[in-house]
Structures are given as C-alpha cells and as structure tokens.
C-alpha cells in the first residue's frame, strides 16, 4: 500500500461468465472497508453477503424500504446470511450495492455493515446488518439469495480505508 494513501483499491472482480458466487479473501492492514457491487441478475432474487464462510444463524438486519408507493421497515433475526434487498431484483435487471464495514478487523466487537441498495426497478433501501462474531473479518462471500446466477459483467470492488 502506498505510503499516505487513505482510500485504496484492494481487489476487483468482473464476472466473465455467469456464476453463483464470488468472494474477497485477502485484505489486511486497513481500518474500514467499502464494497461496491453492480450486479446483473440471472434470476429474480435478492443479493446476500456472508463473512468468513460462516453460514450459522449469526446474522440479523433492520431494513427501510421504499418501493415507489409504500415505505416499510422490517427486520430479520438469527439468519444464516444478510439478505441485501427486499422486493427482489427481476431477472435481467441490475442493482447496485454500497456496503461499509467499519472496524472490520477488530477482535472484540460484533461486526456491523451499513448497506445502501439502489434497485430502481423495485425499491430503494437503507439497511444495517449485524454479524454476531468477534473475530476479524478475513473473507467476504456474495451470492444470490435463491442460489441463481449473477450474470456476466457483474462487478465487485473492495476498497480499504486507512485511519493512519
């Protein structure tokens, strides 16, 4: 990492073929992480995130959703992943995700994700996700909630922010 660089690209992935999952597996030395995803949906679904390949019921989230006519708030507890989305993205459409993970490497607190979803075909979302685990986050996994494909051209970029 260049000296004095506060905001750095750690890794980026552009899908060259449809696939059901992708991940980031090597990132260290930063204070916070920002992930930007631009996902092309191969089936109608929501998008999900997990950490450290943990599929236990260690996730929860609170969500605020506007679908263009109705505003709702909802929450889910004891989930096996954080589902980013609510009304689903229609197959063939895209949605964008901006995910902030503050203090992801600390080993004393649970991990919180601040999530914004831009899905103009269905909804606009602000969401907070909790991963009830104190070890540092060392890997991040993405997939569609229904196990379907993310299409060619989907992009995923991981940025690191350094406090010093």
């Amino acid at each position: 990492m260049p000296a004095g660089s506060t905001y750095s690209t750690i890794a980026t992935t552009t899908l060259g073929s449809a696939q059901t999952s992708t991940s980031f597996n090597s990132f260290s030395g930063y204070t916070d992480l920002v992930i930007v995803c631009d996902v092309a949906f191969g089936s109608t679904s929501n998008f999900q995130i997990t950490f450290n390949n943990d599929t236990g019921t260690n996730y929860s989230n609170t969500i605020m959703v506007g679908n263009g006519t109705t505003a709702v708030s909802d929450r889910q507890s004891n989930q096996t992943r954080i589902v980013m989305g609510y009304n689903g993205t229609t197959s063939g459409n895209r949605a964008i995700y901006n995910i902030s993970l503050m203090n992801y490497a600390n080993t004393t607190t649970f991990k919180t994700a601040l999530i914004r979803v831009g899905n103009p075909g269905a909804d606009t979302i602000a969401q907070i996700g909790l991963y009830r685990s104190t070890p540092a986050i060392t890997s991040i996994q993405f997939a569609l909630q229904n196990g379907g494909n993310m299409n060619t051209g989907s992009t995923f970029t991981l940025y690191g922010i350094s406090a010093a």
């Binding site: 690209t9 506007g66 505003a71 964008i96 914004r116 979803v117 075909g121 606009t124 992009t155």
Partner: protein, 168 residues
C-alpha cells in the same frame, strides 16, 4: 499507482445563482463517480426537487425513493431523474442541504444506475431525508452531468464536488 479517489471538478455558485450545476468533459478513465453537494434552491417553496441529468439528455429516466419528513415515511417513483429534495427558497435562512450521489460504472456500455442520499434540516417543517435510486435507460458513457432544480435556481454559496473512483 494512481490515486483511488480523485477530485475531478468543483463548482461554487457565485452571486446571482445559476440554473444548474454542470460537470463537463468528464474523462472516461475512472470506474465510478461520486458527487458531494451542499446546496440551496431559490424556488418559492420550502423544498424543490433536484434532477440528475446526464449528457444534457432529458428523457429515459426513472426513480424510486423513500422519504422521511419527521412523521410517517413515504415512498414515491416516477419517470424523471429525481435524485434529491433540495432545500428551497422559503426554508430557514442560511440552511443548505447535503447530498451524496454515487454512480458506478459511469463509462460502461450498460444502462446507468445511481444511488443518492439527501438530507435537509430546517428546524421547522417540510424537510426531508431522501434515499433515491435512479436509472438512465441509456447505454452511453456519461461525459457530463447536470444537477438542475425543478423550480428556480441554485443559490450562491452552493458547492458541488465531482470525484472519480478508480478500481485499479
């Protein structure tokens, strides 16, 4: 190695205001764009809409939004590039709203999506937090951006900064 997050252009609105904030000749060398705005409109209302246009094109836009105004939240959608609710000319003096707009893959050959967060606080009524998703149903690369109020001008002392984010 190039900087990841770079200022491309800045606009500070001068005396007399202006009809829109314009970013022109945006290079295609970045991955994403982010615009940070502090602004107030002159429209004869407490709030006015703020539209996000690309390449001076005024068609093929949709938006979907959730609002909080201090009472029950609301949601709306429509066939316009509505990115925010702008502090209007009838709001409390000296109050400017803050807006953040993120545009991923702006130079790609796919339709263009944007995510906007906008906050206005007036110490009164009729102010909003808005979270918006916008779609420009056009595969052209974005080379200019126009932030235009739906009524009136953008007032003096408003500022806008366009940043480029590069992924490699």
């Amino acid at each position: 190695m190039p900087n990841t997050f770079t200022l491309i252009q800045s606009v500070t609105v001068g005396a007399g205001g202006q009809a829109s904030i314009n970013f022109t000749s945006i290079p295609n060398t970045y991955t994403d764009l982010q615009i940070l705005v502090s602004a107030r409109g002159s429209g004869n209302r407490a709030t006015v809409g703020l539209n996000l246009y690309y390449n001076s094109t005024t068609t093929n836009y949709t938006y979907r939004r959730i609002d909080g105004s201090g009472t029950s939240p609301d949601s709306s959608s429509g066939a316009s590039p509505s990115a925010a609710i702008l502090q209007g000319g009838n709001s409390t003096a000296n109050v400017f709203g803050n807006y953040s707009i993120y545009i991923p893959n702006y130079a790609s050959n796919t339709n263009k999506y944007a995510s906007s967060d906008a906050v206005n606080e007036n110490n009164g009524t009729q102010e909003y937090i808005t979270l918006s998703s916008t779609l420009w149903n056009d595969t052209s690369a974005i080379n200019s951006i126009q932030l235009t109020p739906t009524s009136g001008n953008i007032l003096e002392y408003s500022t806008a900064y366009l940043y480029g984010i590069i992924k490699s």
